[in-house]
Amino acid sequence: MESTPTLPIPISYVSGRYLLFSIDAVTYLRREHNICGVLIGTLPQIPQQNVFLGLPLELMPEEARVLVDKGVACIVDEAKAHDGMRSLLEEDRRQYLRDLESQGQLATRILADRKDQLREQSLKEIDEKKAKGLAAKAAKAAQAAADAQIAASSAPASTEKDESSSIFAAEDEMSSLSRTTGTSTPAPQQTMGITPTTSYPPLPHPVSSSGQYLPKPKVPLSYPLFAHLHSRGYFLSPGLRFGCQYVAYPGDPLRFHSHFVVVSAEWDQEMDLMDIVNGGRLGTGVKKGFLLGGPQKRRDEVESEADRIETVRTFSIEWAGM
């Protein structure tokens, strides 16, 4: 886990959005650069829920910009990169398919091992029950449970199921040892197919291959405040759902509640007093501070966004007496 991926990390630019597909890059950026992003994909192991999501990770343009400015990442046009599939060498292609196959075999073996473990475990449980002197009725129920478990492990278990039921029919004098040996001869299995997460390989790593990156991401006016808070160690997430622009966490949101609801403003921008009252009440109501801030210079007064970041001032508003 403590590995460092090759820098700069390629950020996929897909149809105007910034995405990350490599799990190592995601973990690394979270650990070393306080970049969380938002997971938007389905987790294949539990696909029917929206609480835990998986890859890809969507980055705000601000996050992508911070990383590019730091030199940690670069932006790669993913659609263009995948045109490389057309010019794949025959040798690379075969090699890649062989790799996938061996990975698939490995996965098949692991799953088969796990299934055997489960079998042994359930058989042990049955033995324990029998040792307790349960009646034949109870044994039958356990057998049903064991069958269900085997079926649930979604393995090609039809032949084995027959075996196991015949074993159970053959009565309870047999030792658990003979049972396990009876089932430890798995039928030759086909290899699992694999859908890889990233396209590198078979495509050559984009950073080493072309060196042509897209320009820095365009960022909204709130970028200086984002970059300022990020440089102070805050983790920032999109915040519209909580009634603000960003939610600021003091540490990794995995472990900490957020401290601020953040709204950015330009220095000479006129603000409605009601917005400040609303923000203050909202923040205090959810035990957070309402953080209002922005750069003191306009975009036309400076040469680059970086100059604006240095002039950021922030204010925190709390609703007293609530």
Binding site: I23, P44, Q45, G54, P56
Partner: protein, 442 residues
């Protein structure tokens, strides 16, 4: 050594016991996933309780360990591979050119009748499944003449992402020797998740926001189809619609209205001694009133908006993004792919980085007018006024996507003017809940 200190710092943990928290609102501790034994029993996996969080980072090793365990759990969960058991592997093939165009209509035949099976494959479809099996094609995909199922990009990407579909690059792209038919499949390269995003997002109007909304609803069991308004560029040039759009600036209202009030003032100027004068006498006029209802009716001076009198407008005459692009069906609704029932929900998808302000009244009204009239029905609605008010007469759901974080809002057109409180005196008004004009759905 520093045990005492560490305990002291640990004590600062904030206990936030909130009821009814939406789990997806917050970043979840992925360690909870470890408790889910999803590999053996996916059917009964209930969601875990949310984990306890600390108030702020402190330099204790304890906290560092917990954080690193959380991150490790997250890493493991995200690194889970997408495997396809050969027994139920479904293979699909990417077709960058889309489905072959339907054969030309033989002359002398009604073009509407040639369809039969499969003429309805959308030109946006870009993945085909030669031998479809499994449950997923019940409410996804369109079959062509040969029985091959064509998937739209969002459907293909969703299935690939959940690990249910193995999409292959066509050999026309990756090249390779096509050896003896059956060998072909062996040699084609599986499409990675990354490749699928690169190829499918941006195709046929599919933005990342639309896909995020599509897959988040799909994950929890809804069936979804594209609405006619999916294509942003399509619009109605019909002049009649233009007229109605202009006419829109005059909202349809009921009640006395400005003209009515002006009229009574003019009446008074012309005939100040008239008994019906508002300025010189009671608003309801002189005379004997025996019935409160009549009095209240005459007192109703303020014009009100009646959604039932609005013309229903063509969905294509609305302005993107305030336009219905997805039709959503509850899991209980019976779906026949060739003849879809009326949808249970209509959804417009809005990207907060492109539409930074809340919709204007004309935008919102046009959106509502493009949905069919859906008056409150049923015994419960008849009894409870506040339920009626909440339900409204037309409704639409806005899916607001903020950089991958989606909020759903239900907007309903409410007719307060139709609820005559003075007529229901004595009747039950139902529980006194807030009859919000706009309410957050989740």
């Amino acid at each position: 050594m520093a045990d005492a200190d560490e305990d002291a710092v640990r004590g600062t943990t904030v206990e936030a016991t909130q009821i009814e928290v939406d789990l997806s609102d917050e970043t979840q501790d992925f360690r909870l996933l470890n408790h889910l034994n999803f590999l053996t029993d996916t059917s009964s996996s209930s969601l875990p309780r949310r984990g306890e969080k600390d108030f702020e980072p402190n330099p204790t090793e304890f906290q560092a360990d917990v954080l690193s365990a959380s991150r490790q759990a997250m890493h493991n969960a995200l690194a889970h591979p997408r495997l396809h058991n050969p027994k139920n592997q479904v293979i699909a093939i990417y077709a960058p050119e889309g489905p072959p165009p339907p054969p030309p209509v033989p002359p002398g035949q009604d073009p509407g009748k040639t369809s039969g099976r499969g003429a309805s494959v959308s030109p946006d479809a870009c993945v085909y499944v030669p031998s479809p099996k499994g449950q997923y094609f019940k409410n996804m995909g369109q079959a062509d003449r040969k029985g091959v199922i064509w998937l739209l990009p969002e459907e293909a990407l969703y299935l690939l992402e959940r690990g249910s579909l193995d999409i292959r690059w066509p050999t026309s792209i990756t090249g390779g020797t096509v050896e003896e038919g059956s060998e072909e499949e062996e040699l084609s390269i599986p499409m990675s998740l990354q490749a699928a995003y690169a190829c499918f997002i941006g195709r046929g109007g599919l933005t990342l926001e639309r896909f995020t909304v599509f897959s988040s609803l799909k994950r929890i069991g809804y069936a979804i189809s594209r609405a006619p308004g999916w294509d942003d560029s399509s619009s109605v040039e019909d002049s009649a619609d233009e007229d109605s759009r202009n006419a829109y600036t005059q909202p349809v209202t009921r009640g006395a209205g400005l003209a009515g009030i002006l009229g009574s003032i003019f009446n008074w100027i012309n005939d100040p001694k008239s008994t019906s004068s508002t300025a010189a006498g009671p608003v309801i006029g002189y005379g004997i009133h025996r019935n409160y209802s009549d009095i209240y009716k005459k007192l109703a001076q303020i014009p009100w908006h009646d959604p039932t009198t609005l013309p229903t407008r063509n969905p294509l005459s609305t302005k993107p993004p305030y336009r219905v692009i997805l039709h959503v069906f509850k899991p209980s609704t019976f779906i026949k792919k060739s003849a879809l029932p009326p949808p249970d929900f209509r959804i417009a998808v809005i990207n907060t980085r492109e539409a930074t302000t809340i919709p204007t009244l004309p935008e919102l009204s046009a959106l509502l007018e493009s949905t069919p009239l859906d008056p409150p029905k049923g015994e419960k609605m008849d009894r409870q006024m506040y339920l009626r008010l909440r339900h409204g007469y037309r409704n639409v759901i806005l899916a607001v996507v903020d950089q991958g974080v989606t909020s759903f809002l239900r907007v309903a057109d409410v007719a307060f003017g139709r609820e005559r409180l003075y007529e229901s005196v004595g009747g039950s008004l139902g529980p006194k809940k807030a009859g919000n004009f706009r309410k957050k759905k989740r």
